[in-house]
Amino acid sequence: MKGARIGLLIVAVMGLLLWPALGQEKVVLHYNLGTEPPTADPALAEDTTSVNIIEQMFMGLTDLAEDDYSPIPELATSWEVNEDATEFIFHLRNDVHWVHCDPATGEVTKLDRLVTAYDVEYGVLRTLDPRSGSYYAAVLLIIEGAAEFNSADPEAENFLELRDAVGVEALDEWTIKFTLRAPAAYFLQIASMWVARPQPQWVIEEHGEQWIEPGNIVTNGPYCMKEWVHEDHMVMVKNPYWPDWDKVDGNIDEIYFTMVQEASTAFAMYLNNELDVGPVPLPEMDRVKADPVLSKELTIRPIPCTYYYGFITTKPPVDDPRVRRALSMAIDRVTLVEEVTKGGQIPANTFAPEMIFGSAAGDTSIAPWALPEEMGGWGYERAVEEARRLMAEAGYPDGEGLELLLMHNVSEGHARIAQAIQAMWLEVFPKASIRIETQEWKVYLTTLKPDTPIENQPHIYRLGWCMDYPDQNNWVHEVFNPEEGSNWVRMSFDDPYVGEAIRRFSELTIQAQMTRDPAERQALYREAERLLVDEIAAIAPIYYYTEVVLTKPWLSRRWHEINHYETWVLDMEAKMAARGG
């Protein structure tokens, strides 16, 4: 009797063990990254592709909620913030293991190490270490002593002292404390970023910069790297030891990333069922929208990026805010997004898009000329009238005598937009002379740098901005504050027209940084946006970006800011049927 029961148990256990091997096929997702990720190192990443890869392999202290980008627990289960938002204590979970993936077999092994606060501390310090040369260390400079350490000479005597003085400290294995140099309520979002993730010190010390190669790399996220044939493909396999599998409903065992750059080729691969998610090349847009099958597979959703034209505000004739406003008004944003960019982009009347904390997007008291009537704005016709009036008032009736240089970096998409806007401007100001010039990206950035002589600069430049963390501080303050931000529009307090407004703008974004009360910050940022876009008109926001993707019917996915593949569900049977047939 007893023996039979044990025998039954053995059969049952064996059955359970063998079940995955016998019964089901591996669920494989085919996803095109569009380019080779420059790195998989959390300390060095600066681009969305690398971040996408890193997100799968390394857990952050916090994570951003799918809907409103608010900070939610990930590696940290809870946190405490002091009264003036300068001290953040995170309590970590104690069930996350470091794992290693065998590149030959794809087998994942659990290392005898848990992810601790010390790993996070090491990660933050390694990102800040001047020897790492991290591009994105800048977002961590809000931490006390970080700026000093980041800019220290590694050979200097006090180098280690400076390292110790950085305001990050693991209080014990499961508690980490950050001390900031100034109040920053948005630090919880920064804590979700790749620069503040735990890093495996022993692996990095053993392999140096090669530690991110398959075979070397040790990770802790839901997926780990099995294969990385640079520029060709990367394979990630499910990390069965990731503790949260029971909290998500995803079923993907393996992700096969390809790196095909050309959108039309990736589109063809999607149609061939070689990819489960595909892009839509711009010229195919009309056709996809009209196609009965593809239009159902199409998703267009806003992403936190803004396309804008900046004015060099100290360079005549755009030193006159009336000229700048008139130019901004004469851009027909609705036509532009419908007929030129075609991706459902949203006409922008502010710098920061809607999902950013403190954004005033769509607020009709700010630059209402940029919005169509159905969004509560002026509509283009009224905007054009006002633009003509302002331009005449500024001394350029019908654009007579107005000579402008519009510059953009080399890219077909930018060229289309620039040509369209040039045509719009010439329609409204027929006597103006507007030239377009293109420059190769790094030359372009060198031209735009504020220390370039102003005679070498254009009047109008194009740039885009995507969020690092979802707070206005990352937008109006870091990009445009005349004292502490990049300020490539060259706003100056001595501006004869709007110097006072510029001073107020600067004060507002600094004050908002120090403020804790969300409602109060919101109000400060709203006013800052109004000054920047409307009164000073240092930039002409054009549209908020969208992501345009096709998804095969057998894949149901979620829409996090960065893909969370562990939440995606793929019907492998349907996929195989489609691929076979």
């Binding site: 027909d332 080399v410 040509q419 190769e440 070498n456």
Partner: protein
């Protein structure tokens, strides 16, 4: 005294008149020549700038229906045959006929300038190198190797970066002239420069190879034995014998030039938009080949036809210039 007909004059036509006469016999070449002439007329009279600019009058489209940058968003991507747009419109609603006609300007001038420059420099260099003593030949060919191996793309980016910075700063003198020139050509100056630098070296190698082969021939030795000077040997015996393949290679290279221009546009270093060139029009719209095929195929057809014309013209020229073909 002779009665009746005067005797035929001995052949006294110059070699080039003779060649021209031969060329006219080649029917395909004549058609091709006329086509190219038509293209030149298109290029010159796309608008009235040639006629009216000297008098300071307004420039109006002539053969083109509209200015090349005339945009009409409501009319984008219209197919050929739409009233008002005989060849349809592109992604910004610009008339493709007009842009193709204007494109003739850029594409033809790129082709002509590059071809002439490369033929002249390359032929001279190649013949000298092939004809000269081996030591000199060697040095000359090493220089060609150097230019070949040199990554010209870097050079183009550099030139664009520098010249444009200089031009914004308001250059004077020679640099000022260059920047004026560049602006007048829609940023094409650098394309010319790049093509010129890229292509004469190929021609030089070809001419040298041909010279080396012809040099050993009996009739050259015969001429030398008769005391002909080097110069005479080169002009009377070598050049006529090698010019055929060189001209064919050059006419063949013309689509290459137009395509190189397209390639430069593809990587963003071509003409400054909205100035049209066939290459830019193709590289701008190749992704739409399935959806709006005419946007890419019309400039493509213009390119192919022009190439075809240059080829037939080249064939005709070769036949005409080859002394051994006379009278066949």
């Amino acid at each position: 005294m002779f009665r009746g007909k005067k005797p035929k004059k001995a052949r006294s036509r110059g070699p080039f008149r003779d060649a021209f006469h031969q060329l006219l016999k080649h029917r395909a070449a004549v058609v091709a020549g006329l086509y190219i002439l038509l293209m030149i007329i298109f290029a010159l009279f796309a608008d009235t700038s040639i006629i009216s600019l000297p008098f300071g009058k307004e420039v109006r489209p002539l053969i083109a229906l509209q200015h090349y940058a005339k945009t009409s968003f409501r009319n984008r991507d219209l197919p050929p045959g739409t009233p008002g747009y005989p060849l349809g419109t592109d992604y910004l609603g610009r008339d493709i006929w007009s842009r193709t006609v204007y494109g003739t300007r850029v594409s033809l001038s790129v082709a002509f300038v590059a071809a002439t420059v490369s033929l002249l420099i390359g032929l001279t260099y190649g013949v000298i190198s092939g004809f000269a003593r081996p030591a000199i030949d060697n040095i000359m060919m090493r220089f060609v190797d150097f230019l070949y191996g040199f990554p010209l793309l870097i050079f183009i980016i550099l030139l664009q970066a520098y010249f444009k910075a200089v031009s914004r700063a308001g250059a004077t003198g020679f640099m000022g002239l260059l920047t004026q020139l560049d602006r007048a050509m829609g940023g094409l100056f650098f394309v010319f420069l790049a093509l010129g630098m890229l292509n004469w070296i190929g021609m030089a190698r070809l001419a040298r190879g041909q010279t080396l082969s012809v040099k050993q021939k009996e009739y050259i030795e015969a001429a030398r034995a008769l005391g002909a000077s080097n110069l005479r040997i080169v002009f009377r015996h070598i050049l006529p014998n090698i010019i055929g393949p060189c001209i064919v290679a050059e006419t063949l290279a013309i689509p290459g030039y137009i395509l190189t221009e397209a390639f430069l546009s593809f990587i963003g270093l071509g003409v400054t938009p909205p100035t049209p060139s066939w290459g830019l029009m193709i590289s701008d719209t190749y992704q739409a080949i399935r959806v709006y095929p005419w946007e890419c195929l019309i400039p493509g057809a213009a390119l192919t036809l022009t190439t075809l014309a240059f080829n037939f013209l080249g064939d005709g020229l070769r036949d005409a210039l080859d002394p051994r073909l006379r009278g066949t």
